[in-house]
Amino acid sequence: MLRAAANEYELVAPGTLGGVLDLLADDPEGWTPLAGGTDVMVLLGAGKLPPGRFVSIWGLPELRGIAVDDDAVTIGALTTYAEVQADATCRAELPMLCQAARESGAAAIQNRGTLGGNIVNASPAADSPPPLLCHDAELLLVSRDGGERRVPYDGFHTGYKRMSMRPDELLRAIRIPRRPRPDPALHLFRKVGTRAAQAISKICFAALAEVREGKVAHVRLAMGSVAPTVVRCKAVEGEIAGRAIDDARIAAAVAALDDDIQPIDDVRSTRHYRERVARNLLEDFLVALAER
């Protein structure tokens, strides 16, 4: 069998948040968290996981559950895609996140894959980050020595698989500010892949915008699989914020996209295809926005 022997890996499960944070604090380079395992165990299965020490965080109560207050929806890092889709507040207020969850993997993956794992795995092709960026999400990071700190998700990924998180930290939860209810904004999520289930995105698009008195009052746009990290498209946002959407504006916004994305050729698709599809998706969104 190609697979590496399981006994080349150490795996422990302290069972409490304190126990896990102690391990990470005492030997920060030494331990990798294991949540639902749908990224880590795939590498193991493929013989691509370097031998090492893993600490299971699956089941830690402090990292589970969805809490809703007046200001924010706070989603525990261990919340699975299935749990996101089943939650009434997520369904009502975070339709793009729910759609990303529904289009990630298939049922068995959605029962095990977590939002926290999706973020910290830091794939530029991950599907939940674009909706999270559109909602100005914040991350709650916890460590034994530093307690809990809150950082904007925008800017968290600093390069391919690099992020501003220390090795002694765990992602505890994702905090999403609530939008006005009912929400006047147009939300549009589109994942383009080889097939609806299981396939990793060739491109993932999320956008949210509000029109007031004929002008774009608030806009967020983010994409996956078009750069070394998932990106918020601030050049495009700048072209349309505060403006009326007409053909000239759409053309300017589409032209600005080149400043936001740097797609590449890889096993799943080509640069050319991704550029074309990204522009088309943006245009579709702006046309829909203009019609509101």
């Binding site: 399981a6 006994n7 890996y9 493929a46 049922a107």
Partner: protein, 163 residues
Amino acid sequence: MSGPVEIAFTVNGEAKTVRAVAMARLLDVLREDLGLTGTKEGCGEGECGACSVFVDGTLVNSCLIPALQAVGTSIETIEGLAKGDALHPVQEAFIAAGGAQCGICTPGMILAAVSYLRDGGDAKEASIREALAGNLCRCTGYMKIVESVARAAAAIAREERTS
């Protein structure tokens, strides 16, 4: 290197304890330590669903679960689905509609279908296809599998109406 640890859990209603390496895949523990070879390995990477089992009532890919994360859980495999000689309605439907050919995907297909129906899934083709999207079959072309699940959905609905 890391030595074996004790894994105590419930499998098909029976308490079991095995010694396994913590990172060993649940799939291997079921097949090799417990002899439950109904659970199959296709891809070993979460893509094909041949290794599907229920852990605490949720459908998962056992190739992606390390043994240590199964400690204290209750697991249901294809071997635990029939009640004695009485097959589950989904098993009956696969036989009636010809939903299995070589059979490698079948245990996973059946458990994914059972999961869908336990959650209240109906006989709609599009919903069945979405529920089974994580299970690959190289033989049937899927038509008869979808038909099997639709039949089972109808049978379960009939049973609920009469009981």
